[in-house]
Symmetry: C2
């Protein structure tokens, strides 16, 4: 079931180019490695068209990932199926829908972790903790910053780009592998949380959301002044920008009154966020205020907006303890910290007493991308005002690298070392590697 | 508006008996102190009938509360209003309902923290973080282990026991001040949480609960096997027992299939929990399994029940790092830790990576008792099979100190020192002080 495997003219047949990381840290080499092959009947081999460099790659790059062995980087990629395992057969109608339908030559985007689509976690929608879950770009699962990549449990992991979806630009599709779903996840955790439910529903706790309790008399109804939602996004890297876009989009759909502040110390990131916001259609901004600020200025804005009560919730999209500490300082009592940053070895920077005294809730962890991919695609299709300009969905400016673009550059894979260095220093935004130029 | 103030025959007029704690730790003295008086127009003075000794008192008792000054202990009390500030007038119809209605001589139970009933937090139902919130039993707000207690913001803080409620036994009423609402809070945080929503609603994430997202096609429906809820309660002190009772009651009302394990290393606590469960009417147990185990046995039960996936959620009702560590070890990925224990100065015992890797959610903090008091009262009235026997609601055994009783002993306030020592060592269960014998 395999189509032709292309090798780079300067490589030995059967070899490909890949971005390798060597321990202990900061050591990136673009090398020739064997082209992967089917190892299990549920595998697919994908010929990579574009692969993203992600903020969470930096944890490994800096040596904080705990890895002792070299690895091939990359957990965001799109491409074309060139080979499928035996499980892909029209008879496999009792399995996830790609097993009977996916064909060699199909265009696909992969979630940044593999997921079987068949275990308890996958069935419930928590695909990022599938019992077979593996992150692409670790020693036991080589990543997609390469010409070819092996995708395990491919019928559960991949998403086929067919029909009208094929008009979406390739840079935009790469955003579906991680950063846009992760941004949606951060925002959705806030708006679905019971601590936020009184504001959403206008009913006081404990009858503010679904409850197994019998409804008692005298349940408080909230007045308008108590129903304004004040939220902060900490971190405006590519995921933080996506989280802000998703949050504002969801808020616009609710008719809630809101104030959102997005905070980042990096001026170029703030300018990007501001430009994207300014490009949004007015109907998506009607019920709220939005500001972009550096850290100290952001704290003052929250104080002013809330009479020093603090935010209802903070979206923490950085993944270190200074971001968590800032989040706790910004959130009000009975508030929520929705943390999608990839955290590392240090202990959490909070005492139990601080958490108790603020009645704070936390949501930690990895986005179930495969479950949220259709939602992300829906957002991308609906919001031409953002994604047209930001990464080229077809209409709009379609300009990679523009002021409002979520993708800053598409560069040859051979320049990976340089762009890792620049990204690490905050000197560039979202970069995609083209493995074929 | 004040009625007669009774002084103990052996005390100077204007003086009363109170349980005082002296720093640094373990120093309890029952002393004569001045009877409190109205200090603010929203105050009430309550003549205490019974006052509870609570597990969270032990944090202060052991010197972990951070207090440098002596204090009068006690945040659970019931009694009779003997004096009211000027705010209590029939004209105060624009304020919380007790301001125009409460009278000298009325029987009241107090929430364990004061709350105004008028600020943003109170209106939303998060009364335990009222902007005027004070815990009873700290240096600036003397507690209720005394003959009299001053209640600030009394029109928001107190709950009047009138009409049919007057048939509820006084020991039961004391449970409404803290431990029963706190147990309900721990359980409700679990059942209202979005991580649990797929099991509750039978719909896969992200459409498992309320969402601002437009519903997309192909939303997964859960099969029966994915809808079993496996929950653990860590800690079977009086609050843990109340949490277990509340949790089982709520689960019975949902028709969900469930397995609940309650874990405590203390055998006498396990026996109490088991006896209360065995006394429950069968209709409240029909859909689930329930076990009570020590720690290591409990871990094995969870492994067996879940094929080593872990619990959907853990109710942490202890308030120290070993309980939190046990909770994290018991919970499955995408699980929740509902922590109502009063935590102290140590940092949380988790790394960011552990939290990320398990996609764990936490809810920390103090129960908003005043908001949950009507719910607790409803539970108490409905569940004669538990509360009749457990603390004497009127019917049933009404036997304080019985095998199934939530209240073990009512003792003279003069014996406070001895009972603090015993409670600290786990040698007695829930003790109430009678300040008048």
């Amino acid at each position: 079931m395999a189509s032709q495997v292309d090798s780079h003219p300067e490589l030995t047949p059967g070899e490909q180019l890949a971005v390798k990381w060597y321990p202990p840290a900061y050591d990136i080499r673009v090398e020739s490695v064997p082209i992967p092959t089917i190892q299990h009947r549920d595998d697919a081999i994908v010929k990579v068209k574009l692969a993203g460099l992600c903020g969470s790659d930096l944890h490994i790059y800096r040596g904080h990932g705990g890895f002792q062995d070299p690895l091939i980087f990359g957990h965001e990629f799109i491409g074309e199926v060139i080979s499928l395992g035996e499980s892909f057969t029209p008879n496999a109608t009792d399995r996830p829908s790609l097993y009977p339908t996916l064909k060699v030559g199909d265009k696909v985007v992969s979630a940044f972790t593999s997921s079987c689509g068949e275990c308890h976690f996958c069935r419930v929608g928590f695909t990022s903790r599938c019992v077979h879950c593996l992150l692409f770009g670790i020693p036991i699962l080589p990543g997609g910053q390469a010409q070819y990549v092996r995708v395990p449990k491919a019928g559960g992991t991949l998403f086929a780009i067919t029909g009208p979806l094929t008009t979406i630009s390739e840079p935009s599709l790469v955003l579906l592998a991680d950063i846009l779903p992760t941004g949606i996840y951060a925002a959705l955790q806030v708006l679905q949380h019971p601590k936020i439910a009184p504001v959403i529903t206008g009913v006081a706790y404990p009858f503010s959301g679904w409850t197994p309790l019998a409804r008692l008399e005298g349940v408080g109804q909230l007045e308008v002044g108590d129903r304004e939602l004040v939220l902060a996004v900490v971190g405006l890297g590519p995921v933080g920008v996506c989280a802000t876009i998703a949050l504002l989009d969801m808020l616009a759909s609710t008719n809630l009154s809101y104030k959102v502040i997005a905070i980042d110390p990096n001026e170029s990131r703030r300018l990007k966020m501001q430009a994207i916001y300014e490009g949004m259609e007015e109907k998506y901004k009607a019920n709220g205020q939005f500001k972009v600020e550096a850290i100290e200025e952001g704290k003052k804005v929250v104080e002013g907006w809330t009479n020093s009560l603090g935010c209802n919730a903070v979206l923490e999209i950085v993944g270190n303890n200074s971001a968590l500490t800032l989040a706790l300082s910004l959130v009000r009592p009975f508030g929520l910290i929705s943390s999608v940053g990839v955290h590392q070895a240090p202990p959490l920077p909070f005492t139990g007493r601080e958490c108790y005294n603020k009645n704070v809730s936390f949501d930690f962890g990895r986005c179930p991308v495969r479950s949220l991919l259709p939602v992300a695609l829906d957002l991308m299709k609906r919001r031409e005002d953002v994604f047209g300009a930001a990464s080229g969905t077809g209409g709009g400016e379609a300009e990679v690298g523009g002021t409002r673009s979520l993708v800053d550059k598409i560069v040859p894979i051979g320049e990976a070392k340089k762009y890792y260095e620049m990204f690490d220093k905050g000197e560039c935004g979202k970069v995609l590697f083209d493995p074929w130029v």
